[in-house]
C-alpha cells in the first residue's frame, strides 16, 4: 500500500469519527436513528454478501437469523419489571424471568445463538443449490418466525416485546459495523476466503482442487448467521419494540436489494449501497405524503414509495446487473485516476 493511500484512509476515518461525534451532539433523534439504521444495514448486508456474494450460495434466510438475534438480545437485556409487564398472557419461562445481562454479552449471545441455528440449518440445507437452496432457507426462516409466534412463554408470541432498552447508539452500531467489515475483509483475503470465491466460480473445479465444499459453505453460512444475529440484536435494541411480523421475507428482500445494488461480492459496494438504500427509503417517504407544487396539490398515495423501490430494484437487475461496484473494491488509486481523468495504466495500476 502506498504511503499516500494510508494517509488518505486515516484522514477519511478521522473525518467519519468527527462526523459521528457531530451527529451525536447535534442531529435530532430521527436523523440519528437513520444513521444507526445505515450502520445496522451495513452489518446485515456484509453478512449476507459473505454467503450470497462471496460464496455464491443464494440463501434467503436472513430475516430468521435476525429474529433470533433480536429476540435473544432483547430478552436478555430487558429489566425484570418490563418483562413482567410484557408477559401478561402467559408467564415467562423460569430462567429468563430474572435474568438480565449487560448489552455486550447479550448481543454476543444473540449472535452465537443465531450462528448455532445457522449451523443446524446450513448443514443439511447447503447440500442444495440455486433456487432450491433459496426456497429451503426461506422456508427455514419462515419456520423460525412461526416458532417465535407460537412460543408464547418465551417470546410473548404475536404480541411481541415492548420496552426494550434503547442501548444501541451511534458508537455501538458503527463500532460493530467496523468490526464486522474488518473481520469479513480479513476472512475474504485469507485462504478460507479464496476457497469461498473458488466455490462461487465453479463448485466442481473447486472440489477437484481439494476444497471441501461442505466445510466452507457451512462456515460461510454460520459466520453470516452470526453477524445477522448481531445485526438483529442491534436493531431490536434500537427500535425498542419487536414482533414476529417484522421478520417477514420483506426484511430479507431489503438486504438483498442492498447487496444487489452494491454488487454481489464487493465489501465497499455493500457499505455504500447500505447507506444509499437506507437513506433512500427514508427520503422517498415524500412520495407517500401529499406534495404541494404551489398551483396544484398532488395527494399522497401510501405505498407508492415501495412501488418506486421495487421498480428501482428491477431496473438495477435488468440494466446494471453488476451494481455499483460489481466484484471490485473501492481504491484511492482508481478514484484519484478518475478525478484526474487519466486512463488507468495498461495492465492495471501497479
Amino acid at each position: 500500500m502506498k504511503k499516500r493511500n494510508i494517509i488518505l484512509t486515516l484522514v477519511a476515518v478521522l473525518l467519519a469519527l468527527l462526523f459521528l461525534w457531530f451527529a451525536k451532539e447535534n442531529f435530532d433523534a430521527y436523523k440519528v436513528r437513520i444513521l444507526n439504521l445505515c450502520a445496522i444495514y451495513t452489518i446485515l448486508g456484509l453478512s449476507m454478501n459473505l454467503i450470497n456474494g462471496f460464496t455464491g450460495q443464494f440463501a434467503l434466510g436472513h430475516a430468521g437469523f435476525m429474529a433470533i438475534g433480536a429476540y435473544t438480545t432483547a430478552l436478555l437485556t430487558m429489566p425484570v419489571a418490563v418483562k413482567q409487564q410484557n408477559f401478561f398472557l402467559a408467564p415467562i419461562v423460569e430462567p429468563l424471568k430474572d435474568l438480565t445481562v449487560p448489552f455486550f454479552p447479550a448481543l454476543l449471545l444473540g449472535g452465537i445463538f443465531a450462528a448455532v441455528v445457522g449451523f443446524l440449518i446450513g448443514a443439511p440445507a447447503l447440500r442444495l443449490k440455486g433456487d432450491y437452496l433459496a426456497i429451503a432457507t426461506l422456508g427455514f426462516s419462515e419456520i423460525i418466525r412461526i416458532v417465535i409466534t407460537n412460543a408464547q412463554r418465551v417470546t410473548n408470541g404475536a404480541l411481541g416485546l415492548k420496552g426494550i432498552p434503547n442501548t444501541t447508539n451511534l458508537w455501538w452500531s458503527y463500532g460493530t459495523a467496523v468490526v464486522t467489515a474488518v473481520f469479513i475483509i480479513l476472512l475474504i483475503n485469507s485462504s478460507y476466503g479464496r476457497a469461498f470465491k473458488a466455490i462461487r466460480e465453479d463448485e466442481i473445479a473447486a472440489e477437484s482442487m481439494g476444497i471441501s465444499l461442505f466445510k466452507h459453505k457451512v462456515m460461510a453460512f454460520t459466520i453470516g448467521a452470526f453477524f445477522a444475529g448481531v445485526g438483529g440484536g442491534l436493531l431490536g435494541n434500537l427500535l425498542g419494540t419487536i414482533d414476529p411480523l417484522m421478520f417477514r421475507f420483506f426484511l430479507t428482500f431489503n438486504i438483498l436489494l442492498i447487496i444487489v445494488l452494491g454488487g454481489m461480492g464487493s465489501i465497499t459496494g455493500t457499505i455504500i449501497s447500505a447507506f444509499i438504500v437506507t437513506i433512500g427509503l427514508e427520503w422517498l417517504r415524500f412520495l407517500d405524503q401529499s406534495i404541494n407544487l404551489g398551483f396544484v396539490v398532488i395527494p399522497g398515495i401510501s405505498g407508492l414509495r415501495m412501488v418506486v423501490f421495487s421498480v428501482l430494484l428491477m431496473i438495477v437487475v435488468l440494466f446494471f446487473r453488476h451494481g455499483i461496484m460489481g466484484t471490485n473494491e473501492f481504491s484511492w488509486d482508481k478514484l484519484i485516476n478518475r478525478l484526474n481523468k487519466r486512463p488507468l495504466v495498461k495492465g492495471g495500476t501497479k
Binding site: 447440500r127 433456487d131 422456508g139 419462515e142 419456520i143 412461526i146 421475507f249 430494484l313 437487475v317 446487473r321
Partner: protein, 310 residues
Amino acid sequence: MALKLFLQDILDVMTPEMFLQHLTNGISLGSLYALVAIGYTMVYGILRLINFAHGDIFMMATYFTFYSIVMFSIPWYVTFILVIIMTGALGMVVEASAYRPLRDAPRISILISAIGASFLLENLAIVIFGGRPKAFPAPELFTKVFMVGSVSVQRLTIIIPVVAVVLLFALLYLINNTKSGMAMRAVSKDHETARLMGVDIDRTISLTFGIGSMLAAVGGMMWGLKFPQIAPLMGVIPGLKCFIAAVVGGIGNIKGAVIGGFILGIGEIMLVALLPSLTGYRDAFAFILLIMILLFKPTGIMGEKITEKV
C-alpha cells in the same frame, strides 16, 4: 405407553364422519394447490426458474374478479372468462418485462428479477387496490351446502376438484397432442436444439407463462370463493406452498404437481384435525415437508434424476 395414549386421543376426536369431512376439505384445498402448482411446475420445466411472481399473479386474478363483479356488475360466468384471459395476459407481460431481458444472464440475476417482479406486483396492488382486505363476491350457486349422510358439503368442495381434474386433462392433451405442446416439451429439453429445429423460443415461453397464469387465475377465483377475503399479500403464502407442492411432486412434472398439491392440502387439514394443539404450526407443515423432500428425495415423487455434467 405415551404413544398409545396419543393414539387414543386421536381416536377420540376422530369419528368416521369427521374423518370424511376433513378428507373432503383436504381434497378441495389440495385441488386448489394443484391448480396453482401446475403453473410453477410448467415454468420451472421450461426455464429452470422459480416464478416468484406466480403467487402474486394469483392474487391479481382475485382482484380482477372482484372489480369485474362488484364495480362493473358483469355476470360471473362472463367475468370468469374475462379474468382468465386478463390474467394470462398479465403473466405474459411479466415474462416479457422481467424474465425475457435476462435470458442469458446468470441464474442469480434472474432469481432476483423474479423476486423484484413479485414485490412490484404486491406493492402495485397495495397502491391501486388499497391495503384493506375486501370481501370476495361469491355467487350463491357455489356456496350452497348440502348433506351427504351426516357430512355437510359445500357445492364448491365438489366443484373445485372437478374443475382441477378437467383442466389437468385438458392441459395434458395440450402438451402431448398439439404442436404448441410439442414445442414446449422441446424447449424444456434443450433451448438451443429446439431453436435449431425452428421452434420460436420466446413465443413458446410466453405461451407457457400465459397458460400457467390462466390456471393460477382459475385457482385464484376458486380460492376467493372458498376463502372470501382478498388482500394484496394473500398470494405470498399460497404461492410458496404451491411451489412446495410442485417440488414435492417432482418439479417440471405436471402430474407430480397435482399429486404434491393433494399431499399438501390433505396433510395440512389432517394435521390440524388430528393434532389441534399444533394449529399454530399449520403453515410450517409445508416448509417441513419441503425440507424433508429436498433432503431425502430432491427430485420429488415423480421427478427424474438430473446428473450434472462438467
